[in-house]
């Protein structure tokens, strides 16, 4: 314990740098994944034929071991941040696409029928009714993706993208347990913190009408 603490305090600067790198990888990857995932999820609700193949493809990506996916990126995109971000984005996509699709699809058909019957356009149904009602489900998907991303970003150091994997890998190579633990603890805390924050966001963005009960 003390050794971990000593390591953390002596290498504060490095740790802070790796943490920022880590956050940056996750933030960029999540930004792309949210934009693309929500858009794809919405597209699937409008073009139902695409739903099975797209969700299938996203699931397949998720079954590829993360180290392998990172490795596959090297011949395509070289090493460094770009391939790491692409790989993280691919991992983050599935929960977001799936939750967006399910969140919209589970809207009570009676509500949609009432909306259409009153003269709402498809776009108005989506923006005024379906999307607000699906927000909690979509955020739950984002939360899952974020936690996955924080974990996998620790491997990004293997393709030269730095981040909190760096002290862990170095620690393994030099038999420095304190260093391994320090990297792992910081990465885990990061995941927990982000999960907590998104959990709060999920509650805050839940439409008020869905929180009340008779």
């Amino acid at each position: 314990m003390i050794e971990i603490w000593l390591y953390l305090s002596s290498c504060r600067g490095d740790i802070a740098y790796w943490t920022l790198q880590h956050l940056e990888l996750v933030a960029v990857a999540m930004g792309i994944a949210i934009a693309a995932g929500v858009a794809l999820g919405l597209l699937l609700t409008r073009v139902r034929l695409l739903a099975a193949p797209v969700l299938g493809a996203a699931s397949v990506v998720q079954t590829i071991p993360s180290i392998a996916l990172l490795g596959v990126m090297i011949p395509l995109l070289g090493i460094g941040r770009t391939p790491a971000i692409v790989a993280l984005t691919l991992y983050a996509l599935l929960p977001i696409i799936r939750n967006t699709y399910i969140g919209i699809k589970q809207t009570d058909p009676a509500i949609v029928e009432a909306g259409v019957g009153m003269g709402m356009s498809d776009r108005q149904i989506l923006l005024m009714v379906e999307l607000p009602l699906a927000v909690p489900v979509i955020i739950a998907g984002i939360r899952t993706s974020t936690v996955i991303c924080v974990g996998i970003a620790a491997l990004a150091t293997l393709i030269g993208a730095g981040a909190l994997g760096t002290p862990i890998i170095t620690g393994i190579q030099t038999y420095n347990n304190a260093q391994i633990w320090a990297g792992a603890l910081v990465a885990a805390s990061l995941a927990l913190a982000l999960d907590f924050l998104l959990g709060r966001a999920e509650k805050a963005l839940m439409p008020r009408g869905l929180r009340v009960s008779s």
Partner: protein, 399 residues
Amino acid sequence: MALIEIRNLTKTYQGGFKAVDQVNLEVEEGETLVLVGTSGSGKTTLLKMINRLIEPTAGEIRIRGRDVTGMNPIALRRDIGYVIQRIGLFPHMTIEDNIAIVPRLKGWPRERRREKASELLAMVGLDPDEYRSRFPAELSGGQQQRIGVARALADDPDIILMDEPFGALDPITREQLQEEFRQLKERIQKTIIFVTHDIFEAVNLADRMAIMDAGRILQVDAPERVLAHPADEFVARFLGKHRFHLQMSAVQVRDVMIEAPVTVQVSEGRQTVAQAAELMRMHRVTTLLAVDRQRKLLGVITTDAVRSSRREAGLQEVIAREAEAVSPDADLLSAIDTMANSHYSALPVVNGEGRVVGILTASSLTGVFAERLANNREAPREVNAAPTSATEREAEGDD
């Protein structure tokens, strides 16, 4: 020209199933037309073709002479009120926002939308201050459907389509909403097309009803006329054993009451039982209605009460003050019910101010039954499943 004209309307689904088959129908401005039939009869499909939620395969629907297929469906739907069985309020919006959804789609300013929502909340009997900021989940089913009706009225449409609006409510709430709806439709004078599978609801609410089966309309007419003269065996069978009962519920007390009942104005002083007896003999009645100077009902005086008291006794003593009365707007069925539960053979009819306007007696009812049953016999045999009461047997013996 009728407000809505439907010509040769047909909806054929893949595989050749005809949900609606060559339907012709005209709906007059201001009337409530009820489409009634079993499930699968095509009534909901017909309704949904009017606001183009379902597109017809053939035929046309004209509103004020304009073919709806030539109109923008979104604009068309915004001009037609729509109420569905499963209510479909938006759970994330307040009651106020739910009611004012069509005005919002039409771009009304916020203030005007709020005013309209309050006005409509009051119209459906919910206190605006209490309910406007609540959410649908905080309301009971009956309250939610009141909001569903208010929402359909928000932009003051000429036409309102209602698809089994009270079908999902419990029986007591349903009856309450039907009664409120009856009063509301008198007040708003809209053209309403109402779908139901409940023949009682249809008879109760319709100005005219259209009986549907297998995609066709078998008969369109006022409920009393359909009940009295079913067009064919199917209609007769559909009305079934409830027919007599329905006929009675389609009749209002005012239509069958005796309008000039024998009354006696009771004053403070010296009237005696002998005078009442004399009045009864003169008019050959068994019941007198005791009234005050304003013709307000005090009670009834029966021959039994007169016989069993001394002739010189005060009139006040023989008035049965606990006797029940009915309103002229009540349906005959409930009046008969009241009569059966009271101790008297006649039922006073009083208006909203408590003034006597008529009387229902057992003998006047016998006449009504006889007339209806005589009508029924012109229709196919199968129909004669009305309850065999003593009155009915007498009526049949008459000819």
